[in-house]
């Protein structure tokens, strides 16, 4: 039986031609669609000297749809609250009154800031992470990866959200780079005498201190009898919290806490609390105390650890609480965290906040005492 059949001619050419034509058809479809390039975000250098509130708001608007990627979800497609359509200042005030609110903001500006860096403090109904019953926000913290907005950029977005609905912009125009961003060598060049501190921050322009000075602010030679150390510290880092009678608020710089090193603040507080009789001995060379506990307390106080960490039940929350640190880290890890705090960052906290130069400021003895003290916190 002859089974031979006539094969069609040019099978190879036809099959190749068909395949190529189909591939080109798909290419054509791809080329007919909108052609947009997705640029990687570029860190814009803001000329702080030339910045006006109008341009700051405009920067916020650019960041909203650009680097901040806010418009990816906050649009009219229902993925997240449509910020452009909402009056965000009014919304912020409503949320602050809501019993579901878990944060610590007190006004619209601080609420908006908090909602950007810690979105889980208030999760808008129906917009929570799937299965979380609106207790977990799907929004990433904008100051962390992958968005990584700086404090200046976050405030620009807040300014935009306030301005777009005609509200007064309450955020301040940035005047210089925040400490965390600057990481400048000047930070390490800390003044180490009371004279140097007073000269560096021009205290005598407004206050009488070290025997001379202006009268725009109250004289500081006799504050020791009227205020505690803590109140003096507060008076420096938050000068408008309590205003001395007869003096106007808003005159003294609000950002001394950001400008001063911990060491400088300690020198100034020591001097003022000591009734103008400063020992002139910097913290690194303080005479040792036989009592270990009081020595550690002095170290914690001098270096302002409780400004950011909870120690012995009190302190700030900018950094992780240290009352159980001995259960989590060994001695070497604790020491490393003090002298090189950005090498390993505790989950949920930002890098670059804790000063990286304690190894220059603390004596070996102080560091050892602090490590031993913290190791016992379990």
């Amino acid at each position: 039986m002859n089974n031979e059949i006539k094969a069609p001619r040019g099978v190879l050419v036809k099959s190749m031609g068909f395949s190529l034509a189909l591939a080109l058809l798909f290419t054509l479809v791809a080329n007919l669609l909108p052609q947009v390039e997705g640029e990687a975000p570029v860190d814009q250098k803001v000329d702080l000297g030339a910045l006006t509130m109008e341009s700051y708001v405009a920067l916020g608007e650019t960041l909203f749809s650009g680097k901040g990627t806010c418009s990816l979800c906050h649009n009219d497609l229902g993925r997240a609250p449509d910020i452009l359509a909402l009056n965000m200042v009014e919304v912020a005030n409503q949320h602050l009154q809501d019993e579901r609110y878990k944060g610590s903001a007190t006004d619209a500006e601080s609420y908006l800031h908090e909602s950007l860096v810690d979105p889980g403090m208030y999760v808008v109904k129906d917009y929570g992470k799937k299965g979380s019953n609106d207790t977990i926000s799907p929004m990433p913290a904008v100051d962390k990866s992958p968005i990584e907005l700086s404090e200046i950029e976050i405030n620009a977005i807040i300014a935009f959200m306030q301005a777009k609905d005609g509200h007064d912009v309450t955020v301040s125009l940035p005047t210089e780079e925040p400490v965390a961003e600057a990481a400048s060598p000047e930070v390490a060049e800390s003044a180490d005498t009371i004279e140097a501190v007073v000269a560096k921050y021009s205290c005598q322009a407004c206050h009488v201190i070290l025997g001379s000075g202006g009268d725009l602010g109250p004289a500081l030679e006799q504050v020791a009898g009227r205020f505690t150390r803590e109140e003096i510290r507060q008076g420096i880092i938050a000068p408008d919290a309590v205003i001395a009678e007869g003096f106007p608020p808003g005159v003294m710089p609000q950002d001394l806490a950001e400008q001063m090193t911990v060491k400088e603040l300690g020198i100034l507080v020591d001097y003022l609390a000591g009734g103008g009789e400063f020992s002139a001995v910097p913290p690194t060379a303080k005479p040792s105390d036989d009592n270990a506990d009081s020595r550690v307390e002095a170290v914690i106080s001098n270096f302002g650890c409780q400004a950011c960490h909870v120690i012995s039940g009190s302190g700030g929350k900018l950094g992780p609480g240290l009352d159980d640190i001995g259960a989590r880290l060994n001695a070497e890890q604790i020491r490393q965290s003090i002298i090189d705090p950005n090498a390993v960052i505790a989950k949920g906290f930002s890098s670059g906040v804790m000063p990286p130069n304690y190894s220059e400021q603390m004596s070996e003895e102080q560091l050892d005492a602090l490590v031993v003290f913290l190791l016992e916190r379990k």
Partner: protein
């Protein structure tokens, strides 16, 4: 004549890879220049401590991910991304092929063993012939890819080596083992063909697939680590063990998706081989054989393809759960338009698959009972396809927008959003299964007493499922808020799965002792074979497209959130550029596959022996 092949290249490459990785792993891959100063000093201090024998030598060594600047990326005069893009894609195409083919070859071999039909065994052996040539090419592209990555992205590779460490050595060793098993499995086919020896051969196949699957999931962990890193802290320092690094939130969804997609892709490629051989056949036997082979390949491809959207759904759900921002970048951001191209590709696959089944029904007289349904199935498929490709936002000029009264058409606009597309996709899958079901039934006549009841049940399942899909899509998609919109798609997917599973089960029982009508393999139109070419082209393009989407959701990050991409290519290119790249890799793949087909045919070609020379009288010395 025995086939002879030079199979030294993959083995040599494996050994070379082990040597290179071993060298890199044993030394300090990370030059101190890519470490931040503080960290570098920490490393230096640690070295001093080690030298002094201090306890600090035992402390945890934490190094953050490198932060290369643009100058740290070698400039080779052209786009490094494009070079890696092409090589990686070629490696992935061939890798998918060589991992998938042994999977269904093993199943076909088992089928041959259980039925005693030698045709299955011969076909499985022929499939492996394609796979074994592809394996050499996979290894060559794999080696080239590793070289390109180490040369063009040294910091990234250093970091990945830091994160995965010895796992990469294990990978290289498994690759070596895969090579050995593959060659024994293929070349030992005839030597281990009958009796207990066959079970030895099948066991070898099982081992081969086990090693292959392990290789795949290990390589997947590198890709998923770059998308959703695990086992590292927020600056990228490795704090977990290798298992924690591998087992990221997207690892298993990618494993499942690639496993299924590889089978569909492999089936489609060997289907093209069969179609080519069928068209070029010079005898009726050959045509019948390759027609049957093409049908089997298409069956494998479509069967694997049907559950693929569900695996894709799981993957996207996990991406959203990991990072809503990443999910929206893919589905609703700059990459969203690519899903219109995806719709065109999947539409092409389903149309081609259906067309092939309808054409194949001409092989048997029994198909006349069902041919009337084809036009209705075709109408549904076309309508659903058109809904699927309808974009939400139309590309309009300002004049057209003014005439329309907005960028969304009042009738077509609602068809552009996901609820409409979910309805369309699920209906396309259901009607493709219907085509498959009537094809399978066309050469059979059921003999069971409950045939009518069984058919009524099947029809009822179809009707209820279709009604449920449409109702869930319309009601939850347009008349409730967003949160229910997403949940509704689960109901739709379940409805589709119920149809497929119940259809397979009912037919398995109903046609158990059915009367079989004669089928004439080879009695099929030449045009139908071109559907088998359309499938691998669309599959290849689709793999390139979805791989690109998966990779691009990282945006300007090498490793999402922990290592930024500061290279000159750290932007998402236009869809047109990406489409051109996809066509380049698809055409390159087709050319290489053609080479494989030619090699596979060459091994069967025998030169006629020269005729004996007859000496003329008087020529003898």
């Amino acid at each position: 004549m025995k086939e002879t092949r030079n199979f030294s290249s993959p083995i040599l490459l494996s050994l070379l890879m082990i040597a290179v990785l071993g060298f890199l792993w044993s030394g300090d891959m990370a030059p101190t220049h890519w470490l931040p100063e503080a960290v570098a000093s920490e490393v230096a201090a640690e070295e001093v401590a080690t030298a002094e024998g201090a306890d600090a030598a035992q402390e945890l060594k934490l190094r953050p991910a490198p932060r290369p600047s643009r100058e740290d990326y070698p400039d080779v005069g052209t786009s490094s991304r494009s070079i890696v893009w092409i090589i990686a894609q070629m490696h992935l195409f061939f890798g998918a092929l060589v991992l998938a083919v042994p999977l269904f070859v093993l199943v076909i071999e088992l089928l041959g063993k259980s039925t005693g039909d030698a045709r299955y065994d011969d076909m499985a052996h022929e499939f492996m012939k394609i796979s074994i040539t592809a394996y050499s090419i996979t290894a060559l592209f794999g080696g080239t890819l590793a070289l390109a990555l180490f040369l063009l992205y040294p910091d990234l590779m250093a970091y990945l080596m830091q994160a995965f460490g010895a796992q990469m050595l294990v990978y290289a060793m498994l690759f070596f083992m895969e090579s050995i098993l593959l060659y024994i499995y293929y070349y030992g086919w005839d030597a281990l063909r009958y009796g207990n020896a066959k079970w030895v051969h099948i066991s070898l196949g099982l081992l081969l697939n086990g090693v292959g699957a392990t290789l795949m999931v290990m390589a997947n962990s590198w890709a998923t680590f770059m998308m959703a890193p695990s086992g590292v802290n927020e600056v990228g320092a490795v704090i977990g063990n290798i298992w924690e690094v591998m087992k990221g939130p997207l690892w298993n969804p990618i494993n499942l998706h690639r496993f299924i997609a590889n089978i569909a892709f492999g089936g489609a490629v060997v289907g093209a081989y069969a179609a080519y051989k069928c068209l070029a056949a010079r005898t009726a036997e050959d045509r019948a054989h390759y027609d049957w082979m093409g049908y089997t390949s298409n069956f494998i491809a479509i069967l694997a393809f049907l559950p693929l959207p569900f695996a894709g759904y799981w993957l996207m759900a996990e991406i959203y759960a990991y990072s809503q921002q990443m999910g929206i970048t893919a589905m609703g951001g700059i990459l969203a338009w690519l899903f219109i191209v995806q719709a065109v590709l999947i539409g092409t696959i389903l149309m081609a698959g259906n067309y092939y089944l309808w054409s194949g029904m001409s092989r048997t007289e029994g198909s006349k009972r069902y041919q009337g349904m084809i036009k209705y199935i075709a109408v549904v498929l076309v309508i659903c396809f058109l809904i699927w490709v309808t974009p939400h936002t139309l590309i309009l000029t300002s004049g057209e927008i003014a005439a329309l009264g907005g960028s969304h058409h009042h009738l077509l606009g609602p068809l552009g959003i996901m609820p409409a597309k979910n309805i369309a996709v699920n209906l396309m899958l259901i009607f493709t299964f219907l085509s498959f079901q009537i094809y399978r039934r066309s050469d059979k006549v059921a003999t069971v007493s409950w045939e009518k009841a069984g058919n009524a049940l099947m029809v009822a399942i179809y009707v209820v499922a279709i009604a449920n899909i449409i109702f869930a899509g319309v009601y939850y998609g347009y008349f409730t808020n967003t949160v229910y919109k997403v949940g509704a798609s689960v109901t739709q997917v379940v409805s589709t799965l119920v149809v497929i599973i119940s259809g397979v089960v009912i037919d398995a029982f109903m046609y158990r002792k059915a009367k079989t009508l004669p089928s004439f393999w080879g009695q099929v139109s030449n045009r139908s074979q071109y559907a088998l070419f359309a499938l691998p082209i669309a599959f290849t393009w689709l793999m390139a497209l979805m791989g690109y989407v998966r990779s691009s959701v990282r945006t300007h990050w090498h490793v999402y959130t922990v290592m930024k991409d500061n290279s000159p290519d750290n932007f998402i290119p236009t869809i047109g550029y990406a489409g051109n790249m996809m066509t380049i890799v698809t055409v390159m793949f087709v050319l290489f596959v053609l080479f494989i087909f030619w090699i596979a045919s060459l091994s069967n070609t025998k030169q006629a022996p020269p005729l004996p020379v007859t000496k003329k009288a008087g020529e003898a010395a």
